[in-house]
Amino acid sequence: VSGLALAGWIALAFGAGAYSAVGRAGWFSAANLALGMAALAIAAGRAVLRARGTAPPASRGALLRGLAGIALAGALGVGLERVAAASGWYTDWSFEQRTLLAPATLGALAELAPVEATIFRDPFDPRVRSTRLLLARLAKTGDLTWREKVIDEAPEDADRFEIRSSNSVVVEADGRFQVVDRPSEGTIYEALYHLRSRDLGVVYAARGAGEGQLDRTDGAGFSGLGAALETEGYAVREFVAQTGGEVPDDAVGLLIVGPQRMWRPEALAALERYLARGGRVIALLEPGTETGVETVLAEWGLASPNERVVDPASGSLAGEAPGWNPLVYGYADHPLARGLDDSRMTFFPGARPFELRKPRGDDTVAGVAFSSPRSFAVPAGAFSPDDAAEPAPDARVGARSLVVTGRYPREAGGAAVETRIAAFGDAGLASNHFLRSVYNLDLVLNAIHWTLEREPEITIRPKGVVSGRNQLPLPVQDSFTMFQGVGLLLPELLLLGAAWAWARGRGA
C-alpha cells in the first residue's frame, strides 16, 4: 500500500510539474496525472480493506472517530481563519505605519468613487504582496475595487495601458486612467489627484530678487513645491515682480519664496496695491535677509524683526549648535493647522520670529506654528551656527511664532473683499531638501490652501516610505565588524553544543 501510494504521489508530482511547465495537458502530464490518481485511489481502497479485514468491528468506530476528528479540526481551523480574516483586525508594526492611510488619500478616493485598480504582474513577483496589501486597505473604504492580471495572460490590456514592468497599477475612474509604476500610497494618491484634473486657478511665484525657483531641481531648489502645487490642482506661473507691474488679474494668489535682495520700491508698491484690493500672499522669508517685504507685512500686522530663533529644545543638526534649526511641535487651533499636533512635527532649517499687531479692529492676525517655550531670539548674524547662542540677559525666553496668518476685510472698488496673508519665518523648509521632511509639505500646502480660501483642501498627505534616517541604519564597516566579531560566536557555541551532545551520546 505504501509503495503504491508513493508511486502515485511521484506520478502526480511529475504530471503536475509537466502541466505547469508547458501550460497545457500534454500526453505525458495527462498520463501521469491519471496514473497517479488511480494509484492513490487503489492504495486508499486497499488500506481501507486491510483495516476492515484486520480490525474488529468495534475498532472501526475508533477509526471513524479519528477521521471525524481530523474533519472537525479542519472545519474548525478553516472557520477560525475565515472569521478572523473577515474581522479585518490587524495591527501595523511597520516602521513607517504604512497601512494607516492619510486623510488626503481617503478624500481623493471618496471624491473620485467608484475607482477601479488593476495590478499588472509577473507570476512570483514578491513585490506584489505589498501592493495587494495597500489596495486591500484602500478597498476597505468601499470606494475602490481591485483585481490582478498576469501580464503575459492579458497582453492587450498591458499594451493599452503601456505597462512597462511587473507590479504596475492602473487606476481607473470616470473613464480615464493613470498608470502607477511604483505603487505606494503616495504614488497612488498622486494618480488619484491627476484623475481629478481640477483647476484651482493660477498661483504666481514672484521672481527678480533672488527668490527660490520652482523649476530648480537640486536640494536648494523648490521644484518639489511646484510639483506639489500642480498635483493639488494649481497652475504655477512666474511673475517678475521687480518690473513694478501689477500682479495679473487671473492670479488666485502670489507666492514669495525666500527673496535674497531688496525689492525695488515700485515692486513693493505693486505688492501693497495687490494686497489692498483683496490679494492673497504667501510669503516665506529667510532669517538674516532684509528685502522690504518684511516692511509691507509689518504694515499688515505681521512684523518680523531681523532676528533668528534659537530653540534649545530642538538639539543640533549636522554639527551646528543646538537650536539653530527649530523642530516645531506647537500649533494653534487654526484651520491651517488642521491635522497637525504635537506628534506631527515640522522642521525649520533656521527661522525668524514674527510679532503680531492687528492693523484694524476687525482684522484677525494669528500665530499658527510656534517654537518651544525654551526658545529665544538673537540678532541675525550675531552668532555663528558653530557656536552655541545664549540669550541676552534681558531677552525674553518663550515660544515664538514662526508661521503667522492674517485676514483683513477691506473694500476695493466699492465691493467688500478679504485680503489674506500667510507668512513663514523660513523658506528652507519648503526647499527640495526639506519639503518632504516630517510634516513640512502639509504645513506649506495647507497654508497655501488657507490663504487662497480653499479650506476643504487642507489635509494630511501620505508620507514617503523613507526618510534619510531610515535609510542609513548602520555603517557598512559596523555591519562587517558586528558579523565577524559577534555574528559567528553564537553558531560556534551551538556547534560546540552539538559536539557535546554527540560525545555524551557516545559515552552513554
Binding site: S20, R24, S59, G66, W93, L474, A498, A501
Partner: protein
C-alpha cells in the same frame, strides 16, 4: 499532568541531546546571520553609492524610495529564510515520532497513563519550544543591528513573529509526517515535500482549470502569502488564525496515526 510534564521534559532533553538538532540550530542561526548581514551590507552599499559625491542623493534627499529597510532588507531576508527553513525544520522534527516507532517504544508510551492525545500534545509542545528557541537565537543579530540603528524594532518584532509561526507551521507538518512512519528519512523527505508544496500554489494557479475561485482558495492555503504579511510589519488576525488552524489540523492527523496503527497495524 505529571506524566504529560515528564514526557514534555523528556522530549526536550532528547531534542537538546541530539547532535543533529544542535547542528540544525546552529545552521539556522548561521544562515540567518549570513542572509541578514549580506542584505544589510548590500543595502548600506547602495546607500553609500547614492550618497557618493557624484550622485549626492543623500544631500538632496533623492535616494529612490524603494531603497529602504523594508524592501531591501526585511523583505528579501524573510523570503530567503522562509525557503531555507523548509529545508531545515524537518531535520529537527523527523525523529520525534519516527524514532519511537522504529524502536517500538511508542507501544510502551501507550501503556502509561497518557492518552494518545496527550502524547501528541507533549511532543508537539516540546518541538514548538525548540523551534521557538531556534528562531530567538537566530534573531539575535538582526535585532542587534536594527536596535543599534535605532530603527524598526517593532517591525523586526513582526518579522520575528512571522518567522516563528512559519517555523512552527513547518514543524507541525514535519511532526505529522513523522507520526506516520518509522523511518526518519521518509519523515524528513515527506516534511520537505509537503513544505515546498504548501509554500506557494502559484504554479497550480497557472493551470487552466483553476478559476478565480480556485485561485482565491489556493491563496488562502498558501503558507507564503500568510507568512509574507509579517515581513510588511502587519500582524493580521486572519494570518495568525491560519497558523493556529494548520497546527490544529496537523495535531489531529498525528493523533489519528495512533488510532490507525491500533486498528490497521
Amino acid at each position: 499532568v505529571t506524566a504529560f510534564r515528564a514526557l514534555f521534559r523528556k522530549e526536550l532533553l532528547l531534542l537538546f541531546g541530539a547532535p543533529l538538532a544542535w547542528a540544525a540550530l546552529s545552521l539556522v542561526v548561521l544562515v540567518t546571520a549570513l542572509i541578514f548581514f549580506d542584505h544589510l551590507r548590500l543595502y548600506n552599499q547602495t546607500i553609500f553609492l547614492y550618497s557618493s559625491t557624484t550622485m549626492g542623493s543623500l544631500d538632496t534627499d533623492t535616494i529612490p524610495d524603494y531603497v529602504n529597510l523594508r524592501d531591501t532588507v526585511f523583505f528579501p531576508v524573510m523570503e530567503t529564510l522562509g525557503i531555507t527553513l523548509i529545508g531545515l525544520i524537518p531535520l529537527v522534527t523527523m525523529r520525534v515520532f519516527a524514532e519511537e516507532r522504529a524502536r517500538g517504544t511508542d507501544e510502551l508510551l501507550l501503556t502509561t497513563a497518557l492518552t494518545p492525545a496527550r502524547i501528541v500534545l507533549a511532543k508537539f509542545a516540546a518541538a514548538y519550544v525548540f523551534v521557538a528557541l531556534m528562531m530567538a537565537a537566530s534573531f539575535v543579530y538582526p535585532a542587534m543591528a536594527i536596535v543599534q540603528g535605532g530603527l524598526g524594532a517593532q517591525h523586526l518584532a513582526a518579522v520575528f513573529v512571522g518567522l516563528t509561526l512559519h517555523a512552527i507551521a513547518l514543524a507541525s507538518i514535519g511532526l505529522a509526517c513523522s507520526a506516520w512512519t518509522g523511518s526518519q528519512l521518509v519523515a524528513a523527505v515527506a516534511g520537505w515535500a509537503l513544505g515546498f508544496v504548501i509554500w506557494d500554489f502559484e504554479w497550480v494557479k497557472s493551470f487552466r482549470f483553476v478559476g478565480e475561485t480556485g485561485s482565491g482558495l489556493l491563496d488562502a492555503l498558501s503558507l507564503h502569502l500568510h507568512y509574507g504579511s509579517f515581513a510588511e510589519g502587519i500582524v493580521d488576525a486572519g494570518h495568525l488564525a491560519y497558523f493556529v488552524a494548520l497546527a490544529a489540523i496537523t495535531l489531529a492527523v498525528a493523533h489519528f496515526s495512533f488510532t490507525w496503527r491500533r486498528v490497521a497495524g
